[in-house]
């Protein structure tokens, strides 16, 4: 191989794969940041998914975004207050006023076993009320919640039990 041809071959040999890599990792390419974010989410464990959902949905007050990010499009919800599909969860959460500092939520326990995660928490939906002792149960697969149950118990004004509900 002549030296000039060799030099051109080296330049082309480096430029071609580098150019392809820059395209594939661009926003329009098949290896975009969004692609890798989806891969990373798929690798998330049950606890990570639940904690990420709770953080975005409640702490950051982005319930719609949190459901879209962490609930599977085919999620099955058993909450009697919603129709049961993902859109009905979004519609239910959208109806609430998230701008006045409520709902307030304090997580008491998170228990995870395999693909099932249980969150025991205290929710106050209106200022001044005692709130609800809530248990949310999530089934997680491939980084998304695929099934959800909840058990809600309003905290009574007068309790016989002096230990409180938490």
């Amino acid at each position: 191989m002549r030296p000039a041809t060799h030099l051109l071959a080296i330049i082309a040999g480096i430029a071609a794969p580098v150019g392809i890599t820059f395209w594939t990792t661009s926003a329009a390419g098949p290896r975009s940041a969004a692609h890798y974010a989806a891969v990373e989410q798929k690798a998330m464990g049950t606890r990570e998914v639940i904690e990420a959902f709770e953080k975005m949905g409640i702490d950051e007050r982005k319930p719609k975004e949190a459901v879209l990010a962490y609930f599977s499009p085919d999620v099955v919800d058993h909450d009697p207050g919603v129709k049961g599909d993902r859109q009905s969860i979004i519609d239910y959460l959208d109806k609430r006023d998230w701008s006045t500092g409520v709902p307030q939520r304090t997580i008491r326990h998170i228990v995870v076993e395999g693909d099932i995660g249980v969150v025991h928490h205290h929710i106050v939906r209106k200022p001044g009320e005692k709130g609800i002792a809530a248990v949310d149960i999530f089934r997680v697969k491939d980084g998304k919640v695929v099934e959800h149950w909840d058990v809600l118990q309003p905290i009574p004004e007068d309790m016989v039990n002096s230990n409180g509900m938490f």
């Binding site: 480096i14 098949p30 890798y36 891969v39």
Partner: protein, 165 residues
């Protein structure tokens, strides 16, 4: 139709095929070399994003390689083989050095990742590797001897320039 000095006709077609094959092999070699060099150096220099694989398994494997320090060796092999292929030096050796790393990449892309781009990438890498090896097959044929006799010092003598008479 050309003729030999003895007057026998010689078909030019094989020579053209040979040139085409040589060109294809060189194309594969320089592309592969550039790809290995760029991605090897990217590990330390970070020219472009460097995520940990396109599937959960790839991610876990790459993270384990990084935490064990083996990924440094993988990337060093990529740099060394990339440089050798681009400089057209020790090419048969460079291809052999590249095989374990390249086949691992092919395995992850074809069998572990789900997306079509990964499958295509894996197949292209396999084709490049096969084409490069086919182009240097004459160097590997001695290894394909089923029975190769007793071991001897002749290889070492050849390496260090002491030829037996």
């Amino acid at each position: 139709m050309a003729t030999t000095f003895q007057g026998a006709p010689v078909d030019k077609k094989p020579a053209a095929n040979s040139r085409l094959f040589t060109g294809l092999v060189y194309g594969a070699q320089f592309f592969f070399g550039g790809w290995f060099l760029a991605h090897g150096l990217n590990y330390w220099l970070g020219f472009f994003p460097q995520p940990h694989g396109s599937s959960s398994t790839s991610r876990e494997l790459i993270l384990a390689l990084i935490s064990s320090g083996l990924f440094d060796i993988v990337k060093a092999v990529e740099v060394v083989t990339g440089v050798l292929l681009l400089l057209n030096l020790f090419v048969p050796l460079a291809i052999v050095l590249a095989v374990p790393v390249a086949l691992s990449i092919v395995h992850l892309n074809v069998l572990e990742n789900d997306d079509p781009f990964s499958k295509g990438t894996g197949i292209v890498i396999l084709l490049l590797l096969g084409l490069m090896a086919a182009g240097r097959l004459d160097r590997y044929l001695p290894m394909l001897a089923m029975r190769c006799g007793d071991p001897s010092l002749s290889g070492l003598r050849s390496l260090f320039g002491r030829h037996q008479n």
